[in-house]
């Protein structure tokens, strides 16, 4: 079980959080203008990297706020947290 540092509540067990998948997938402004391919890409395709992954978490059983984390998908180490809308921290290339 991961230990996640909610930016508002501090470190808590993963069981208090829900996972939101890859971060920074912006909803297209005008979906109607997109081809099936482009819309499908937004809908289904994700990076799934081996290594650092910017992802969304929500402190569901706590303050209920969404935030971003940068987690290593191999070791599950989390190196940074940042708020929604904030610029992601520089990647150091692990």
């Amino acid at each position: 079980m991961l230990q996640i540092e909610c930016p508002w509540c501090g470190a808590c067990d993963q069981s208090e959080f829900s996972y939101g998948g890859e971060a920074h997938i912006a909803r297209p402004k005008t979906p109607a203008d997109l081809s099936d391919q482009e819309w499908g890409d937004y809908l289904f395709n994700r990076e799934n990297p081996k290594g650092w992954h910017r992802e969304q978490w929500c402190h569901t059983a706590g303050c209920r706020r969404w935030f971003n984390a940068v987690r290593d998908t191999v070791t599950s180490r989390i190196k940074a947290y940042y708020q929604m809308g904030a610029v992601p921290p520089e990647e150091d290339g692990r």
Partner: protein, 1002 residues
């Protein structure tokens, strides 16, 4: 006389406390301090089990978690536990244990025939044989499992309680052998918060019972001193009988503490087991090593044991596994048995050492006490009688180790103590994410790179010299302390005698006696995997150890291959001409040893604690009035209210008819309710729902459908505009939490510019719903300040006022197709209102109805239930609800409705079904076909989603999703049922009753 194999003196047992126990129906005695295994040895019981596949007689091999044979059902009745290793079961007065494999008994097992026909049962036999024809596997499986004997579950619910506790620490030390104790003392003295967990009943690990001198005193004394010193520190917690079973992410470890299993009369109310959930800043693994068997012909006969186990039984438990021993080894550590056995009064007939050359300190010491040492020799055959080993053959090994060049003769013995070297217990390191690496010199896997905040020390790091272990433990602890910002104090390590050990010689498979070529060489005792099985797998093309594992069942037992895995990997490497490092290990997974379901469940069992139960404010009334309840999510909802003598069908029909003809009353409190406030509330609704919301005026209600971004229906409900910037959204009962999270997520992550606040008010309101032609009259008789006329309160509107004197919000919405009102009052007034409505409704014959009648009424009207008539793959178009999908604005999921797959015309669409025979009610979930078909598989055209008998229509009705169903109205489909009937039905519009909505608008 009992305990004939017990030594007169010595051991860590209490001879003044004899304990009686029962094994396979025989009453035996042991002593306090015994394990079940040592007590069986004390009583001379050699054959304790039958093997999994060949049903060969088996004896005790090991002394700890690695034991593959002596696995028993322990305890009786509700408290019985299957699959316990006798080596880890502490003896107590009255203990009962049974072998699980072997019928009619372990001494005489009828399935031992499998051993004689063993040549017909190669690796993969079950896969190859019983998978054809495929559908028969279900029949074979049961029989095979019965033959295999895996123990049995208790026949009644567990009377014991189990605990869970959360705890944090600076350093968790796993294992309290010399390394663990030394590491713990270093951390404790430095002021750290320390937990020490050890799976045994006593601390000391491998030192227990040995005569080793450490720090100028006998090992037992030293351990005692160390434990006393540790226990003085308030921040140190010492847990015995506590196995660290799992090492999970972010240094989260689970300790399974067994608190009462060793007691004959446990303290009442004390939990039987406890799961410690530990978040450790640093972990020091001091889990030791497990001796490795040698792989030679008939190495599974009772009496063939791990050399270290033989020593421990003699020294710690003061029992003799045999009176005349031969030792078979590839390393120096097994020579210790020579001296331990002689001290215990046994005869050592010889040491068979497969290494060449005479120069060895250990061998010289053995010769000095008169024990012959056969260097360069191997055990070629094991002869056994009724009680196990009675003679072994030895032969001279060829230089390349592949064959036996000369027969040397045979030696009579009753125990063969074997040692193939040591496997560091790297399980937890591997679970933490580390990858063990093969060390050629030590011929074993050592911990690799640490992924988490952990380090291994002592034997589990491949250090087998005691004095170096002690020094290493202090270093490991000091480094762990520095990592958490604690300055380690200097701790002196006690002195011990040093030995020079000659290197071992890895020979993964011992060549056999040419006279006895058929002797099986077992690699995995628990699963009867032989060396030949692994070589066969390699010949058949298996290359990955993970595949070979699954094909041969190597390491698949409850012991998870603690003895056999490394031998198996090395044999595979040999068969493939590779080195063991190229093969690698299989994945080590939690749990290290099996954990009971009780410990996993903890207190979260039973009606009350497994999952919270939610009851509406009117629940008490429903119970008083004999409602049958249905679980909807966590809610208890009245299902139907049977009158005396009524079954469910009769009750539901009566409830439906009463509602259609007069007035029915339903507890609708469970519907999800979310208050949406703020300047942009309407904008949010516009984006979430498929229809338009800005045009909704205050005081009016509108039905809405929400989709996932994939265009599939996710939830539905009525939302009302309470005031300019304030809306009340209702959701399905089961979807309430999900919808709230859904809205919240869009607001926070995608649309932070919207000024909207969401509040869950589900529990805030109690909702009494009245429906039927008399509902208006009933409401009028109860309300003050509410104009109930159709003009003042038309369909899909609401007003505020008092009902039965209680402040209420009354919504005129309908899920039944009748004139209906949902009266919302403060939750604490809910029961009061309900009783008042029931009282006032008497003249109308008011009838309470439950979810079952509600379902029938809405199905008659063709109203879908999201999650029943939809399954996450249904669009609004599929439901025929195009009318609610806005063409003008964008909303979540809209673009997906125009993807090629969502727009194709043979999608499953919602239709009604009317069976040819009006009394036949189709089962929900029934598959639909176009009729008889000779081709297989028969093409499926859809399935039934809802199906009821409608008392109002005196006809069975159903809703179904059928491919291209909208184009087939008036046509027929067939439902083939399990009982062989083929039911014909006509495809209809999904609305069966009042399709013009005259009644509900009235």
């Amino acid at each position: 006389m009992s305990q004939r194999w017990r030594l007169a003196t010595g051991g860590c047992i209490n001879r003044s406390r004899p304990l009686r126990f029962v094994f396979n129906g025989r009453v035996l005695t042991g002593y306090e301090g015994d394990t079940l295994a040592s007590a069986l040895i004390a009583n001379g019981i050699r054959t304790v089990a039958r093997s999994f596949k060949y049903h060969r007689p088996r004896g005790i091999v090991g002394v700890g978690a690695e034991e593959p044979n002596a696995i028993f059902q322990v305890g009786e009745g509700r408290k019985t536990v299957p699959g316990l290793r006798a080596t880890q079961v502490e003896l107590y007065e009255g203990l009962t244990a049974y072998s699980v494999n072997g019928w009619p008994s372990v001494e005489f097992d009828i399935y031992a025939i499998n051993d004689l026909i063993g040549g017909l049962l190669p690796a993969g036999f079950y896969y190859k044989t019983f998978m054809w024809p495929r559908s028969f596997w279900k029949r074979y499986e049961h029989r095979i499992r019965q033959m295999a004997g895996l123990g049995r579950a208790p026949d009644a619910s567990d009377p014991d309680t189990y605990d869970k506790r959360n705890i944090h620490c600076d350093v968790l030390v796993v294992g309290a052998g010399p390394s663990g104790l030394m590491a713990a003392l270093t951390a404790a003295r430095s002021g750290a918060r320390v937990i020490v967990a050890d799976e045994q009943s006593e601390f000391g690990g491998g030192l227990l019972g040995t005569g080793i001198e450490i720090g100028g005193m006998e090992a037992g004394k030293w351990v005692q001193k160390m434990v006393e010193a540790l226990e003085k520190w308030p921040e140190v917690m010492m847990l015995s009988r506590s196995t660290v079973t799992g090492y999970h992410d972010h240094n989260f470890l689970v300790i399974n503490e067994r608190r009462t299993d060793h007691l004959s009369n446990p303290v009442p109310l004390m939990s039987r087991e406890r799961m410690w959930r530990v978040r450790a800043k640093q972990v020091v693994l001091a889990t030791g090593a497990i001796e490795r068997p040698l792989v030679f012909a008939d190495n599974d006969r009772p009496g063939v044991m791990l050399a270290s186990a033989v020593s421990v039984y003699m020294q710690r438990y003061a029992v003799l596994p045999g009176r005349s021993l031969v030792i078979f080894t590839n390393n120096d550590s097994a020579y210790r048995v020579v001296h331990d056995a002689i001290n215990a009064g046994a005869v050592v007939k010889g040491v068979v050492d497969l290494r060449e050359g005479a120069a060895s300190e250990a061998a010289d010491a053995a010769r000095r006490v008169g024990v012959p040492v056969y260097r360069g020799h191997v055990v070629t055959a094991v002869k056994s009688g009724f009680g196990g080993v009675n003679r072994i053959n030895i032969g001279r090994l060829s230089a390349d180790g592949r064959s036996v060049v000369a027969h040397k003769g045979s030696i009579e013995c009753d125990v063969l103590a074997m040692s193939g070297g040591w496997n560091p217990t790297v399980h937890l390191h591997a679970q933490s994410g580390g990858r063990p690496v093969f060390d050629e010199a030590k011929a074993c896997f050592l911990p690799g790179f640490s992924v988490q905040a952990e380090r291994s020390t002592g034997a589990c790091a491949g250090e087998f010299d005691l004095s170096l272990c002690l020094v290493g433990a202090v270093e490991a602890a000091s480094e762990a302390l520095r990592q958490v910002g604690i300055d380690p104090v200097t701790v002196d390590t006690p002195g011990t005698a040093q030995h020079t050990e000659a290197p071992l010689r890895a020979l993964w498979s011992i060549p056999g006696d040419r006279a006895m070529p058929r002797g099986k060489k077992f690699v995995d005792y628990q699963n009867d995997t032989t060396e030949a099985d692994i070589r066969l797998a390699a010949r058949e093309g298996y290359r990955s150890i993970e595949h070979v594992k699954r094909y041969t069942a190597l390491g698949f037992g409850t012991d998870q291959g603690k003895l056999g895995n490394v031998n198996g990997m090395a044999i595979l490497a040999d068969a493939l001409g590779q080195s063991p490092s190229a093969i690698g290990t299989t994945t080590y997974r939690p749990n290290y040893t099996p954990v009971t379901f009780g410990a996993i469940a903890g207190r979260a069992v039973g009606e009350v604690l497994f999952d919270p139960i939610r009851r509406t404010p009117m629940h008490e009334w429903h119970v008083e009035n004999g409602a049958a309840f249905e679980d909807v999510g966590q809610w208890k909802r009245p299902w139907y209210y049977p009158l005396p003598g009524e079954d469910r069908e009769k009750a539901v029909s009566r409830e439906c008819l009463a509602t259609r003809h007069s007035v029915g009353i339903l507890d609708a409190s469970t519907l999800g309710k979310i208050e949406i406030t703020g300047r942009d509330a309407a904008e949010l609704l516009d984006r979430i729902y498929t229809n338009a919301w800005k045009s909704l005026s205050v005081g009016r209600c509108r039905y809405g459908l929400m989709l996932g971004e994939d265009g599939m229906v996710m939830d539905d409900g009525v939302t009302s505009r309470l005031s300019e910037h304030r809306y009340l959204m209702t959701t399905t009962t089961g979807g309430a939490a999900h919808v709230l999270n859904w809205l919240e997520r869009w607001l926070q992550t995608e649309w932070p510019e919207l000024k909207v606040f969401l509040t869950s008010v589900t529990d805030r309101w109690a909702v009494t719903s009245i429906a039927g032609p008399k509902s208006r009259e009933l409401l009028e008789s109860l309300s003050e300040g509410i104009d109930c006329s159709p003009e003042a309160m038309p369909f899909m509107s609401f007003c505020e006022g008092r009902v039965a004197g209680i402040a209420a919000r009354v919504f005129r919405i309908s899920f039944s197709g009748e004139v209906a009102y949902e009266i919302n009052v403060s939750a604490d007034q809910g029961l009061l209102l309900w009783r008042a409505v029931m009282e006032a409704g008497k003249p109308f014959g008011i009838t309470p109805y439950g979810t079952d009648a509600m379902h029938v009424l809405r199905a008659e009207k063709g109203y879908v239930i999201v999650g029943q008539d939809t399954d996450g793959s249904v669009t609004p178009i599929d439901l025929g609800m195009d009318w609610i999908v806005s063409k003008k604005k964008d909303f979540i999921g809209k673009r997906s409705l125009f993807r090629a797959d969502t727009a194709r015309d043979n999608r499953k669409q919602l239709v009604g079904l009317k069976t040819e025979d009006s009394t036949v009610v189709l089962p929900e979930g029934a598959q639909l076909v176009n009729g008889f078909s000779s081709s297989r598989p028969v093409p499926m055209v859809g399935h039934v989603t809802s199906s009821y008998f409608s008392a109002t229509l005196e006809h069975s009705i159903a809703l179904a999703l059928i491919k291209g169903g909208r184009a087939r109205l008036g046509g027929s489909v067939y439902a083939p049922l399990l009982d062989g009937r083929l039911i014909k039905a006509t495809i209809t519009e999904p609305v069966f009753y009042d399709s013009d909505n005259v009644r509900q608008r009235g």
